[in-house]
Each structure stands twice: as C-alpha cells, then as structure tokens.
C-alpha cells in the first residue's frame, strides 16, 4: 500500500535505480481460484488441472495474466506515492507461471525527463519467478511531482507532444 509519509520526487529518481520490489507467493491454487472467482473468470486452464493438461496440453493450471498485471500497477502505485501517477504500462505475457512459484515484481528506471508541471520516469518492469525466469517483461512510464511543484494533475493530463 502507499506509505502516506513518503513521497517520491522527480529529483530523487536516478537512471538505473531499482524500484523496491514486491514479492508474491508461493502461489497456490487457492490464490488462483480466489482471483478467478473475483473476476468471474471461468476459464478452466486456471482451476481444472485435467482440462489444462489433457485438453489444452499445458503443464498445469496457470496464473492468470489478468492477475499478474495487477501487481505491476501495485508496484508502481506504491513507489510513486500519493502525489504521483502510474500513466502507462506495456507488458507481454511471454511465459507461464504455475502453482508453487514465488514471484518478484520488479522495476528499473531507464530514463527521466521534466515537463513544466511534473517529471516523467520510464522504467523496465517485469515478473521473475524463483528460478529467475522472466514471464512478464514490459515498460512503464510514471509521473512524479517536482520537489517544489504541485502534485501530478488529477485526472492525469499527459504532456503535449
């Protein structure tokens, strides 16, 4: 969750710095079922092992992509703080994640630039399992306030151009 006592400012951000990572798991069928039920997603590859393995030829029941994407947003929401904004996420589900895996959601700053009203920070993001395999590589852009500036405008107004 957001720590209301901390605020990230544009001036605090350096290219190459890591976002404090988020860990999830080890993932169980209960986690997957809870998410699927919350979403009313009845796709059997998320809870019916015989169907996933025998019919769809998968290695087992899979963590939902819709589940994993939530954590990318959570990671960055907590990092940018109350007065920042998670603007863009772009990610691909390149590999499957299975029951038993422990996941680390990570981000690394690749670029930063200042606009008249706030700072923009580009990041590489992803989710690796405890074997070190990346499943969800992507990129993100967040907006953070300038130290002597105002909070990032809300609703968010992208920079012109």
């Amino acid at each position: 969750m957001i720590d209301a006592t901390k605020q990230l400012y544009f001036e605090d951000v350096e290219v190459g710095m890591d976002v404090p990572s988020l860990t999830k798991g080890p993932m169980t069928t209960a986690h997957i079922m809870r998410w699927s039920a919350t979403m009313e997603n009845w796709h059997k590859i998320h809870y019916d092992t015989p169907f996933a393995v025998n019919h769809d030829k998968l290695p087992g029941v899979l963590l939902n992509g819709s589940f994993k994407q939530q954590w990318l947003a959570q990671l960055l929401k907590d990092w940018v703080g109350l007065n920042g904004w998670v603007w863009k996420l772009n990610y691909q589900f390149r590999a499957m994640n299975l029951v038993g895996e422990k996941l680390t959601i990570w981000g690394k700053v690749t670029a930063k630039r200042e606009t008249p009203d706030y700072g923009l920070v580009d990041l590489d993001i992803g989710i690796v399992n405890d074997q070190g395999k990346e499943s969800t590589p992507g990129k993100a852009t967040v907006a953070v306030p300038l130290r002597n500036g105002r909070p990032v405008p809300y609703p968010f107004v992208p920079p012109k151009g």
Binding site: M1, W42, H43, I45, G65, Q69, A73, L82, F93, P155
Partner: protein, 177 residues
C-alpha cells in the same frame, strides 16, 4: 501453411457499441479485488488521506476492465456448454465485440496489454466502454504458429470521463495433437 483463415480478417476494424458495465463500482467487489491481489490499501476501502485527491474511495486502476460481466438474465455459457467436453470456460467476447467465429475453436490466452490510466473510478460510479478490433495477425514462434488479436478499448465513466485506454492482445493457438 497459414493457420489464419481469410474470413477472420474481416473482423479488423469492427467496433462495438457503447457497453455499460452491468453493475456500478461496488465496495464489496473492490474489497474482493484488493484481497485477491494482496493489496488492502485503505484508499480502496474508505475515505482517507490516500484518496482525498480522488474524491473518496476508489477502485484499483485495472478494476474497470474487469467490470464487464454477464448481465442478469442473459444466457449462461457455463450452463449452455455443460455437455461440451471441449468447452474451456473462457470469456470469448469482450467489450461488446463479436466473437471471431473462424478462430473460435482455438484455445485463447492473454498476451498482454498496453494501457494508459487517466483517472480512477470511485465507488458507486458507472463504467462504460467502446472497443474495436485493431489487428489480427499470424506469428511464428518457437512453439509453432499463433494468432495475435489486438483490440483497442476506451473505458469511461458514465459521464464520459476517460478512465483508461487499453490495447489488448489475445493469443489463439492450435491445440497440439
């Protein structure tokens, strides 16, 4: 040999009507979402310092995307397909877009998204969307050919304020023998 039927390409450019989510942003549903993802941030539950700038309790950024469920009184696909051993339970149609019939026999997976967020939906707000099929292409991978279906969707409040804009990729692949 291509696995992408010519007839599927006719769906590129097809747009949905405006679709309104069957329920508004419900507090209990926001709670279940928060607990399922393991982020019980107070901003999603009650008025607090974290959501003052949003005007009160809000839903998670991705929440509006998951609000388009089967409306009360509509056909139940689980019941309708209960005798079909090949029924996979997947949501075939999203955001008012028609099912791509020539591909409907292929298993579907979530390929990822590009998404921009502009605003969070508050508890009690109505959400609507408008979507279109942007592209349907075939791609060769190390595990064989796949079909990438890209749709673009705007999620808005009932008053038309833009919440999020998503470019979503679904993957269809032939079943391995």
């Amino acid at each position: 040999m291509s696995i992408l039927p010519e007839a599927a390409l006719k769906y590129v450019g097809v747009e949905s009507d405006v679709e309104i989510a069957c329920d508004p942003v419900e507090r209990g549903q926001v709670r279940r979402h928060a607990q399922a993802i393991g982020d019980e941030d107070p901003m999603y539950w009650q008025a607090c310092e974290s959501n003052q700038r949003y005007g009160g309790p809000v839903a998670q950024p991705f929440f509006p995307i998951h609000m388009f469920r089967r409306a009360y009184g509509t056909e139940d696909p689980v019941e309708a397909n209960a005798s079909d051993p090949d029924y996979d339970g997947a949501l075939k149609v999203r955001g008012g877009l028609p099912e791509i019939e020539p591909l409907s026999h292929m298993p579907v997976m979530n390929g990822g998204s590009e998404i921009e967020f502009f605003r969070l939906a508050r508890h009690g707000e109505t959400v609507k969307l408008r979507a279109r099929y942007a592209s349907i292409t075939e791609k060769e991978t190390s595990k064989g050919p796949i079909i990438l279906i890209v749709s673009e969707t705007d999620y808005m409040t009932g008053d038309g304020e833009l919440l999020a804009r998503q470019r979503h990729t679904r993957i269809r692949r032939p079943v391995k023998k």
